[in-house]
């Protein structure tokens, strides 16, 4: 993974000092709340309902064991002993005290981490395919580009006061695991007709109050022009994006207001001037960056097949875990091991300091000291040799990290909700709990199969409800919590925004309503169909009828 050099270290240290001075000036009354707000947000700090929340950047979801231990230490020292992994592959702490935030940042800097641009109207953490570098369906590892983009966007002088936040995602694989199409800019690494690698560029995707799937603005962008092209998009947006209404300020609104054709013209016009040698990515710069993401030194042997078969036969729970929580790895003898942060009864995405420490130990023992965060709020060990699967499984089980529910109904995405966020209308976590309690039969969950439930406590859509097969949105109706369900959303290559099922349902029947939807699916599914496939085939009507028949 990437390691800081003298430049990176200095920049992060200087940012900590700058922020420390800003906090002091705020506390001394020299900065008003309105003046301090954008400054603290650009460093991931929210001041809200109970106490501040600090969001720490995990660039493209990649962590070293040393870094994860530091996150555990911070959770213990400054928070209540845990952290919340977010859908942007970051981690959030609640309850740190404002006065202590500069100290936290100083600790983070020691392990090459920071909170720069984890909020605010600027370019946010760059996200990527969590299987980057290990997936068999990958054309090229996106992480060198992600790190280059991270650096290019860090303290960008022109784009730090944009109309609204700006999110970029990159994947190099044919299967989209990074929800690329719902980002302000989405980048797919592709090969053109003559075999050169470049980017297919999307613009104007996003969730929030007005969700849009991104539109293809450029079918092929040479890699060396990546930065100049992105600068042109951002410049057009910075100049023309709306600033009078924050709900209409994202680039998706601009693209749809002027039309893709006009937006493209504006970008191309600027690009004529912006495409200068000083912004060109030289092959040497790319090579330098690739060096940090080279494949680790894999073993060449595989587990003895008889041993593996014996483990599976003797321990059905192990077999079930293997079938559910593992993914293929391009190196023979290796597997990707997911650690769902979705154990029944636990808030989705939360990990305790003890779990983080244990995962760091396991990563060192079994996975080249590397951990990844997925945008589904799970963690994974990317390179586990199959001969070590059994002992790893035993350790994961002890930590509550072996729930075999990856991709199943209970592997929900969920924002922190009313209990932690000042924006929320509804408590996502109690609903997640209700769903977990209602669907506690693992055999039933396996029978239902792949299903993504995504839940947001308000229209800002941090829980990605628009792109869940079943989306749940908390709404406030005259002071009461209601939940709006949507069906048919998809985060993958066929990205789609879910359609409304009908009127929002009261809090106490959310799980029951999902149960009714699943009954329709089970009655109507054809062989091999997932919930989303059946929905696409039969449409909304049968689901709607079942849920609202009695009303």
């Amino acid at each position: 993974m990437y390691r800081y050099d003298e430049y990176d270290r200095r920049l992060v240290d200087e940012r900590v000092q700058q922020f420390r001075a800003q906090v002091q000036r705020f506390l001394a009354g020299e900065l008003s709340e309105a003046e301090f707000r954008p400054l603290r947000l650009m460093n991931g700090l929210y001041l809200q309902r109970h106490a501040p929340m600090l969001r720490v950047a995990i660039p493209y979801g990649l962590l070293s064991a040393v870094q994860l231990r530091m996150l555990a230490t911070i959770a213990r020292r400054f928070d209540k002993g845990y952290g919340h992994f977010s859908t942007r592959q970051n981690i959030q702490y609640n309850w740190p005290r404002l006065e202590e935030v500069p100290d936290i940042l100083e600790q983070l800097a020691k392990v090459e981490m920071h909170a720069i641009q984890t909020s605010g109207n600027c370019v946010r953490n760059i996200t990527a395919d969590h299987l980057a570098g290990v997936a068999a369906d990958e054309l090229e590892d996106p992480r060198p580009y992600c790190e280059l983009l991270r650096q290019w966007s860090t303290l960008h002088p022109e784009f730090s006061y944009l109309p609204r936040k700006f999110k970029i995602a990159v994947t190099g694989a044919s299967r989209d695991r990074a929800a690329v199409q719902v980002h302000d800019i989405g980048l797919y690494l592709v090969r053109n007709a003559v075999g050169e690698l470049g980017f297919r560029v999307l613009v104007g995707g996003g969730q929030g109050r007005t969700p849009y799937i991104g539109l293809f603005i450029r079918e092929f962008l040479e890699r060396r022009h990546l930065f100049s092209y992105l600068e042109s998009i951002l410049r057009v947006y910075n100049r023309l994006g709306r600033r009078d209404n924050k709900y209409k300020a994202r680039v998706k609104i601009l693209v749809n207001a002027v039309g893709l054709e006009r937006f493209t013209e504006l970008v191309e016009e600027d690009w004529q001037y912006t495409r200068r040698p000083e912004l060109e990515l030289p092959e040497s710069g790319l090579e330098y960056m690739r060096g940090f993401f080279a494949a680790p030194d894999y073993r060449t042997d595989d587990v003895d097949a008889t041993t593996l078969a014996q483990w599976r036969r003797e321990t059905p729970d192990f077999a079930r875990w293997m079938d559910r929580n593992l993914a293929a790895h391009k190196a023979p003898g290796y597997q990707v091991v997911y650690m769902p942060l979705k154990a029944p009864g636990e808030p989705p995405g939360d990990a305790t300091a003890e779990q983080m420490d244990a995962i760091a130990d396991m990563a060192e023992r079994y996975s080249f000291a590397e951990i990844r965060v997925t945008h589904d709020q799970n963690l994974l060990l990317a390179h586990v040799h199959r001969s070590q699967l059994y002992e790893l499984w035993e350790q994961l089980r002890e930590q509550g990290l072996a729930t075999p529910n990856l991709g199943l109904l209970t592997d929900m995405i969920c924002c922190p909700g009313l209990d932690f966020c000042s924006l929320a209308n509804a408590g996502s976590i109690p609903i997640a709990k209700q769903i977990n309690e209602h669907f506690d039969d693992l055999d039933y969950l396996h029978d239902i199969g792949e299903l993504s439930i995504k839940m947001s406590g308000c229209v800002n859509a941090c829980g990605h409800h628009h792109i869940g097969h079943i989306g749940i949105l908390g709404v406030d109706k005259r002071g009461k919590e209601f939940y709006q369900l949507t069906l048919g959303g998809d985060a993958g290559n066929n990205a789609a925004i879910g359609a409304r099922l009908g009127p929002a349902v009261p809090k106490d029947v959310v799980a029951l309503t999902i149960d009714q939807l699943l009954q329709v699916y089970l009655e109507q599914r054809e062989s091999g169909e997932r919930f989303i496939d059946t929905y696409r085939r039969i449409g909304m009507a049968p689901f709607k009828e079942r849920v609202y028949a009695d009303h």
Partner: protein, 157 residues
Amino acid sequence: MRIIKNQEVVEDEWVLLREAPAAPAANVIVPFADWCEQRDAWLSAGAGVWLSGADSVEELAPALPQLPLIALDFPQFVDGRCYSSARLLRNRYQYQGELRAIGDILRDQLYFMQRCGFDSFELRADRDPQEALQAFAEFSVRYQPAADGAPALFRYR
């Protein structure tokens, strides 16, 4: 009125006019709309011009070699449109004259503004320009090129 120019606090030689006088004069900075109406007269008088974020700096292009000063207005410091206007003037049009930030200008934005090509700053009246000078030295690392001559780090690592 004291302003920051080339990272020093100096007495301002210009008068910023939010509304233009009837006859063109020297050493005044006039609104873009008024300036457009009598472009040649203002230019020969040696006046400067100020633009909002909504104004199109492209329209200034033919007059740039003769313009001694352009001011860009930040009605609120969070309105970042003029960062792009500044970069267009400096990078695309190679504007060489004085480029001033006016309006809701606070210390915490000076570093970014300078990187985008501003070389003078009229701070909000309640702020001490002397104290604000510290902002220019807050960072010694620049990852990306802008209008201050810094090269992209990715080109020489």
